[in-house]
């Protein structure tokens, strides 16, 4: 009778789980609710500290996977996917008794419960002594999501606790392990660009540096090309780093950079803004006396708006505006069909318009057109030198965005600000 009852309990909760496409056990939905249960608070940290640490722990998984997590303190407990609690010895209806101070510090179940041994000395992040609750929470959440222990230096899924260094983050192996279960992060972007800035060295020399940014809706990521990932802690709300541009997103970013001009523009709808790099905000009025936002039709006569996207081509000093299947340049003979301006290298392998983002990358010294989850690289001079038969400005066969720029993942809106 007991076995039948337990089997019934297990089958009820097992419906939350599903065989993923990789035939691994994993959650079948992408937005998961969690709660620190009231009867399971730790006696060592304030409740707010505990909740903050768990919010951060869930967000860290969200930053490297298509999963989103939201704290739910109101729904019936059986509707909460992941329940967390602290206990000692015999605890929280669990049959795995904790062993006291030392050794086992927590355990987790695929059904969604995480238990922490409150006999251990859990501490907040960046506190030197004790056991980092954040690190343990990230580890146990990994189990809940379906990861086993991983015996690799640096992996968050190592079974033994290692004293936390100044900071810990998901390494490449941990990211790919979770993505094997839930897939990579995919999605269209509003715009992608390399932000150029000038810095002075201690010796007074001016050096040019750039950072790569991806924007989607009201968020953005800084992409660290040399590390093949986004900056830790991203995405960030637009208004945090880009003051004055529309908070819910932009259509395009253009940096006009020539010997005579150096101007940055953001486009949204029928308007555009000029960005003041020195003061890190949009111009209300630029030195030429123009007030912003301005209508695109005023600043760029003949260009239809709203636009899909745009980019500045330093090869010919023109801004290319994309709208539907047309490309507009403030020059004669435009607008033209996109297939005429950017012909396909392989027939039928072409975005055919409605481009999401046009991006010149200084890292790759190449122009990319992004649409949906795919991108096409524009044939460059080096490509044509190696293969002269390639058409000028041809589009090479498409590739997947997430296989080129890794782990650009959304988080739940409630997790944007912890």
């Amino acid at each position: 009778r007991r076995k039948r009852h337990l089997a019934g309990l297990i089958s009820k909760t097992r419906k939350k789980r599903d065989l993923s496409q990789t035939d691994h056990m994993a959650f079948s939905k992408k937005v998961l609710k969690w709660r620190l249960i009231g009867e399971g608070y730790s006696s060592q940290l304030t409740i707010e500290d505990q909740r903050y640490i768990f919010r951060l722990a869930f967000r860290m998984w969200s930053e490297v996977s298509p999963l989103e997590f939201v704290e739910d303190t109101h729904a019936p407990l059986e509707d909460v996917d992941i329940r967390l609690g602290f206990g000692t010895g015999r605890h929280l209806g669990c049959n795995q008794k904790f062993d006291g101070t030392g050794q086992e510090f927590a355990h987790a179940w695929f059904l969604g419960d995480i238990h922490f041994d409150d006999d251990e000395h859990f501490t907040a992040p960046n506190v030197g002594s004790g056991i980092s609750l954040l690190k343990v929470a990230v580890h146990e959440i990994g189990h809940v999501l379906g990861l086993p222990h991983i015996y690799r230096p640096g992996s968050i899924m190592q079974p033994s606790y290692l004293p936390q260094e100044s900071s810990f983050e998901m390494n490449w192996m941990d990211r790919k392990a979770i993505q094997q279960l839930y897939g990579a992060c995919k999605g269209r972007f509003d715009t992608v660009f390399d932000w150029i800035r000038k810095e002075k060295t201690p010796y007074g020399e001016v050096v040019i540096r750039f950072n790569t940014y991806f924007m989607r809706d009201g968020w953005y990521w800084l992409y660290e090309n040399r590390n093949n990932r986004t900056r830790y802690g991203d995405p960030v709300p637009l208004q945090t780093g880009w003051h004055g541009i529309p908070m819910d997103g932009v259509d395009a970013y253009v940096h006009v950079w020539s010997r005579k001009r150096d101007a940055v523009y953001f486009f949204r709808g029928t308007q555009f803004w000029k960005y003041d790099s020195e003061n890190d905000q949009v111009f209300r009025q630029d030195p030429e006396g123009h007030r912003y936002p301005r209508l695109i039709s005023e600043g760029f006569p003949g260009v239809p708006s709203p636009i899909d996207t745009a980019f500045y081509d330093r090869r010919d000093s023109h801004i290319y505006f994309f709208k539907n299947n047309l490309v507009s340049v403030m020059a004669s003979s435009f607008p033209k069909n996109i297939r005429d301006v950017f012909p396909p290298v392989v027939n039928r392998d072409h975005p055919d318009g409605n481009i999401d983002a046009a991006y010149f990358s200084y890292t790759h010294n190449a122009i990319f057109l992004l649409k949906g989850i795919r991108f096409w690289q524009v044939v460059g001079s080096r490509d044509r030198w190696q293969r002269p038969f390639l058409p000028r400005n041809g589009l090479l066969p498409h590739k997947e965005v997430d296989q080129h720029w890794f782990d650009i993942c959304n988080v739940h809106p409630t997790a944007l600000k912890l």
Partner: protein, 155 residues
């Protein structure tokens, strides 16, 4: 209140807490190896919830667990090879010298704070050592002028 004296509570002591049983000898090492699946993979998903209809008492579960573990241990004490095999597997995945002997380094490793989830579970190919390739970007980033640092960048 749990007593403490430091401002940041870093020296907080647990009241009435008892210390976990340390792994000190071959017997406790065998219990460790059994608990975490090195002797036989553990069916971790058999969750037993305390419920009025399923009245597994805590004492019953304690006795059951101890009996199972002792039973397994007794059986395996008769078969020393199984213990050595489990021990070497633990040493191997833990990055220890694979001696097959319950030595000091192994004892220290077994007594480290660790997660209670077994390392070897039924139905899984465990443990995962290295199955995912390292970062393999398609491009050479040597000319990047990004100021982004390596993994020491702080969130």
């Amino acid at each position: 209140e749990k007593p403490f004296h430091n401002r940041d509570h870093s020296d907080m002591q647990s009241l009435n807490s008892h210390q976990a049983q340390a792994v000190t000898d071959k017997y406790t090492a065998e219990l460790f190896l059994s608990r975490y699946g090195f002797i036989e993979p553990v069916n971790w998903e058999e969750v037993q919830l305390e419920d009025s209809d399923a009245s597994f008492s805590g004492d019953f579960l304690d006795d059951l667990q101890a009996t199972i573990q002792e039973g397994i241990s007794v059986a395996h004490l008769r078969d020393n090879q199984a213990f050595i095999s489990a021990l070497t597997e633990f040493q191997r995945v833990s990055g220890l010298p694979v001696t097959g002997v319950f030595d000091e380094a192994t004892k220290v490793a077994m007594n480290k704070p660790r997660c209670g989830v077994p390392d070897k579970e039924m139905g899984l190919t465990n443990p995962v050592v290295a199955t995912v390739p390292e970062s393999s970007g398609d491009f050479d980033f040597e000319n990047s002028t990004s100021t982004s640092n390596n993994t020491t960048t702080v969130r």
